[in-house]
Assembly symmetry: C2
Homo-oligomer: 238 residues x 2
């Protein structure tokens, strides 16, 4: 089940701010920054554009510096569903890179996105030359695992209303921490899929949040009107 | 949000077969094996026993060599729910170890379990001395992330019946690959929580699988009678 590697696509530019935008690289020493800077390329993906497809192999590590990436899997029925969202600072693609196996999920830009790309050989060379960067990458991977587990923790909540409230608070924390207003990073249809509800149920639940004065919904724009009550619905203490 | 570390509990013995049972260590060179062997301890946990609690800090990396570990989170209501299961070869506890933050979930033995324990300083020293082991650990972490994502992919399936079929196939693959019979690694009540169903719904769905001649259920023992149909229910092609 190995991987015949093919190179990353063309259209790469030199990195604008890959390193400064990615928290995990924030505490690197000057020589580590220089080392990484020399091997990173930045690529821009338009909304809907695919970074890689499930089953493909790739020879690069991707670090999201701006925008939102959705990881999706195709069901046998041909229906695609989101398994996780990635936000700035998150890594992806390391599975194919490290295990030399095909990607187990597809990655596509949920919104316009800037992605830092490090080619396999460069990445492995940086790890060899800088144990500090290796340790930092390991810590970042461990953080990604926590994110995936937090995501799963929301999905296992029994009530749809609770899953929705949790997911709204999660999206707010990821896109506009502390703010009352934020934009859903995915469509409502996709959100319905994520919380395991039909679009009709989601629509009804959002309508209920509006009617109860908890959140106002206008398209993808969400305004939290009663945070305390939303947290209570999500089963969180304040 | 740092961690005041406390040492792992007493009751440790020298490792019986930590290294041989854990696939990720299977391809290490002799000197790497010796290095790891010298710093690993094995601990046995009885069914139900806690390895660490959410909010605790610990100074060790844990590698499961036998049994099943459940990662759980406590809801504000005091209800505990499973976010993921760990099977032999899986790592856990690296979050607190690498990030020096409290564990975001609790870990407990779902069944009698043997766990290899590596103390923080020993582990970091092995990583410093052996870049190959570091690379292998990174690959293992990446594999864990894939597991967490596969788990989430099951949870986002819309129909309870499909989630149940997928979870049964997943448990079979983890505990007895290719066999017709296997034992559920968790109680039926816990399984209901995992697939986001009430115990009554789960009971009805299992009864339906029996009535349809797809799987026989006796306590926690599951016998797959019609694998093709179970795969079809799970939305998998064969």
């Amino acid at each position: 089940m190995g991987c015949a590697l093919h190179s990353a696509a063309a259209g790469e530019t030199t990195p604008p701010s890959c390193l400064s935008r990615v928290p995990v690289f924030g505490q690197l020493r000057a020589e580590e920054v220089a080392l990484l800077h020399s091997v990173m390329r930045s690529r821009r993906f338009s909304k809907g554009e695919t970074v890689f497809r499930e089953g493909d192999c790739s020879d690069s590590l991707f670090v999201l510096s701006r925008g939102v990436i959705k990881l999706t899997k195709l069901e046998a029925s041909g229906k695609e569903h989101i398994i996780r969202l990635l936000f700035p600072g998150d890594f992806f693609g390391q599975f194919s890179l490290l295990q030399e196996k095909p990607h187990y999920a597809s990655a596509a830009a949920a919104d316009d996105a800037d992605v830092c790309v490090i080619h396999r050989e460069d990445f492995l060379e940086v790890l060899r030359r800088s144990p500090e960067t290796a340790a930092r990458f390991m810590t970042a991977l461990s953080g990604q695992l926590e994110e995936a587990d937090s995501w799963a923790a929301v999905l296992t909540l029994l009530e749809t209303g609770r899953r929705l409230a949790k997911m709204l608070l999660y999206f707010r924390q990821k896109s506009a921490p502390g703010a009352d207003e934020f934009t859903l990073p995915i469509s409502k249809k996709e959100l319905a899929g994520v919380i395991g509800a039909t679009p009709e149920t989601l629509s009804r639940k959002l309508g209920q949040l509006s009617a109860d004065g908890i959140a106002a919904v206008s398209g993808r724009r969400i305004t939290i009107l009663n945070e305390k009550e939303l947290c209570r619905l999500a089963g969180e203490e304040q």
